[in-house]
């Protein structure tokens, strides 16, 4: 009943070329998921809401980058537009709408986000049309792929992995070492006290939401050259990054990184061994983690 192709999987595990190719593609999936998931986990950690419309920021990042690239032809500008545009969008979204449902029950928060998933998807359909779009690989990266141990690795993949890892390091250090990082962590812990000490918590909340939106937008912009763009492209990414945060533990950046890489590898190698059950594998893994460690691999809070 289950379509298995274990020969393909073992065959791949035995060949170094295939191993390298699959591992890189696993890293690509994982790193994009990490950027989305880390925003999700950050927003949850500080604001205590799960941004159900987070996938829309990923989608907007990709569309912004594509449009900027078509107008300017500059890849760097495209990335910047993707990230900055979604950051502004996140700030407005949080200040105008989300801030009204803090402390309300989960039902209201989910409904507001649900409304925006519908609205954003239709806005994209209105502006860019319902059909599949593609940004195309920038000329700077249209060079011969690298060969590592016989496996083909396009240079763009290395850039993507590098950018995501850099974001992880900057974020981790920034939260742990800088003054703003400390304020954010304090606000996550006890917003009333932070506010009493004369710090504008509304600004912190808006900033964290903008940062989360920016990371998702950056992921979308980075994905634009290698994925096809379509309205609703954010939703499956949202579900997968939620699975990542459940596995890694809500509120943990390291957890999001490890979870994302695990999911990336499951998707990449699973598509060889279980072509029709790849998504099922992901859910199965989530269930195993949830049952054995309900807080996730790196979570502290009891789920």
């Amino acid at each position: 009943m289950l379509p298995l192709d274990l020969d393909a999987l073992t065959g791949c595990l035995a060949s170094s070329a295939c191993l390298v190719t699959q591992t890189t593609s696993g890293f690509i999936i994982g790193m994009l998921l990490f950027l989305v998931a880390v925003g999700l986990t950050l927003i949850f950690g500080v604001l205590k809401v799960v941004n159900f419309s987070h996938g829309a920021f990923y989608m907007f990042g990709a569309y912004f980058a594509m449009t900027a690239y078509q107008f300017s032809g500059s890849f760097a500008l495209a990335m910047l537009c993707g990230a900055a545009g979604t950051a502004i969008l996140g700030l407005i979204f949080e200040r105008v709408f989300m801030s009204r449902v803090y402390g309300a029950d989960v039902l209201m928060q989910l409904l507001v986000c649900y409304a925006f998933v519908l609205i954003f998807d239709d806005v994209v359909r209105m502006i860019w049309g319902p059909e599949f779009k593609s940004m195309g690989m920038p000329a700077a990266f249209q060079v011969a792929p690298l060969f590592i141990a016989g496996g083909v690795v396009p240079p763009y993949y290395l850039l993507l992995i590098g950018v995501a890892l850099a974001a992880a390091v900057i974020l981790g250090l920034g939260l742990a070492r800088t003054r703003i990082g400390k304020v954010i962590r304090a606000a996550a812990h006890n917003p009333g006290m932070v506010s009493a000490l004369g710090i504008n918590t509304g600004l912190i909340y808006g900033g964290v939401f903008a940062l989360g939106g920016m990371l998702a937008g950056l992921a979308g912009a980075l994905a634009a050259p290698v994925r096809s763009l379509t309205p609703g492209m954010g939703f499956s990414v949202l579900i997968e990054s939620f699975i990542v945060t459940v596995i890694g533990g809500m509120g943990s950046i390291l957890g999001a990184l490890i979870g994302a890489i695990l999911i990336g590898m499951i998707r990449s190698f699973g598509s060889l061994g279980f072509p029709l059950f790849t998504e099922g594998l992901m859910y199965l893994f989530m269930v195993i983690v949830l049952v054995s460690r309900p807080t996730g691999l790196f979570g502290k809070e009891v789920a």
Partner: protein, 338 residues
């Protein structure tokens, strides 16, 4: 026996008598509602109206069962639509592949739903609110993607095509439009009556207690996990019945029936009608279907309009329609001073 115990002992039969009375009252209302619905085809020849009522039955059962979770138990499920899809696909597949009589397929679908809901519920109900919402959503996506990828069984993104055979049984021919209509109404009324009994039973009050204070419920000796799992499976059964009506109505099953937006709409129906009254979701269903039919006729950007309406209710009103009606009613009864 102390005085207090004696008082309590006397109170129990009294409460039971009250419960009995309200149960007769519920049955009476249900019979009256069914009678009104049943004579509707004789009054009007409008096929569109009957179609509308059939769709209301399917979504009404689904939304009211979701309210058992959201409103009564405080479990905000964002994946309840999977059981709607499961009912439609389960019933359609059994009818297409085995050719058993309709009642057998109906029962078999409910048995399958029970098993799957018990497995998914056992994993989900121990989670806290937002985790519960998203993990149920994740399971919904799993079922949806399974339907899409298991083409040999489900027809993939084309759905179950070729029509669902609907052989007559006990003189009921579901391929006849009026018969299907009466059967849907009967299922709706029976389903609502059963759910009402669940909500008003001691078990229903246990659920409310869990919603208000789960720790306290567990201190007084209630197995919270088991109670939540029970209501999760029961709600899944009614949602599945809604899916079966839908499959009978369109004579097929499509992946959209199992897509997450069905769950989102279910949540919104509950919000729209109000979760504090039993019939709130039913009112919400009628409103949403009317809105749906009007908007899709006017514009292709259905999502924007629906989204704005949702925002208006979630941020602006913060209450459902029936909540306002109930408020207005109690205010009128208690006089303007209250």
């Amino acid at each position: 026996m102390t005085e207090l115990q004696a008082e309590q002992a006397a109170a129990v039969p009294q409460a039971e008598a009250g419960l009995q009375r309200s149960r007769y009252f519920d049955v009476l209302i249900a019979l009256a509602a069914f009678a009104v619905l049943a004579i509707l085809p004789m009054l009007t020849g409008s096929k569109a109206l009957l179609d509308f009522v059939i769709r209301c039955s399917a979504f009404g059962l689904f939304a009211t069962s979701l309210n058992l979770l959201v409103g009564y138990t405080g479990l905000v499920s964002f994946g309840h639509g999977m059981f709607f899809g499961l009912g439609a696909y389960g019933f359609g597949l059994i009818m297409q592949r085995t050719g058993v009589p309709v009642p057998v397929a109906f029962v078999a679908t409910l048995v399958i739903t029970t098993i799957i809901a018990a497995v998914i519920g056992a994993i989900c109900v121990r989670l806290k609110e937002i985790y519960f919402a998203f993990v149920t959503l994740a399971f919904q996506m799993l079922i949806h993607s399974t339907i899409l990828s298991w083409v040999s069984l489900t027809g993939g993104d084309q759905g179950l095509r070729g029509g669902i055979p609907r052989p007559a049984f006990f003189g009921i021919d579901l391929s006849n439009h009026v018969h299907l209509y009466i059967a849907s109404c009967a299922l709706l009324v029976i389903g609502l009556l059963l759910m009402r009994q669940i909500a008003q039973s001691p078990f229903g009050y246990t659920l409310r207690m869990i919603r208000d204070n789960a720790n306290r419920a567990s201190f007084v000796g209630i197995d919270v996990w088991r109670a939540k799992l029970t209501i999760f499976v029961l709600a899944a059964l009614f949602a599945s019945t809604g899916g079966i009506i839908m499959a009978l109505f369109v004579s097929g099953a499509y992946p959209e029936f199992a897509y997450w937006t069905i769950s989102g709409e279910g949540i919104f129906i509950n919000m729209l009608g109000g979760v504090t009254t039993f019939l709130g979701p039913m009112v919400g269903t009628v409103l949403l279907l009317i809105l749906n039919d009007t908007v899709t006729r006017l514009t292709e950007y259905y999502g924007i309009v629906l989204g704005i309406v949702i925002l208006f209710f979630a941020i602006g009103l913060r209450k459902g329609l029936m909540d306002f009606v109930v408020e207005w009613y109690t205010q009128r009864r208690n006089g303007p001073g209250e």
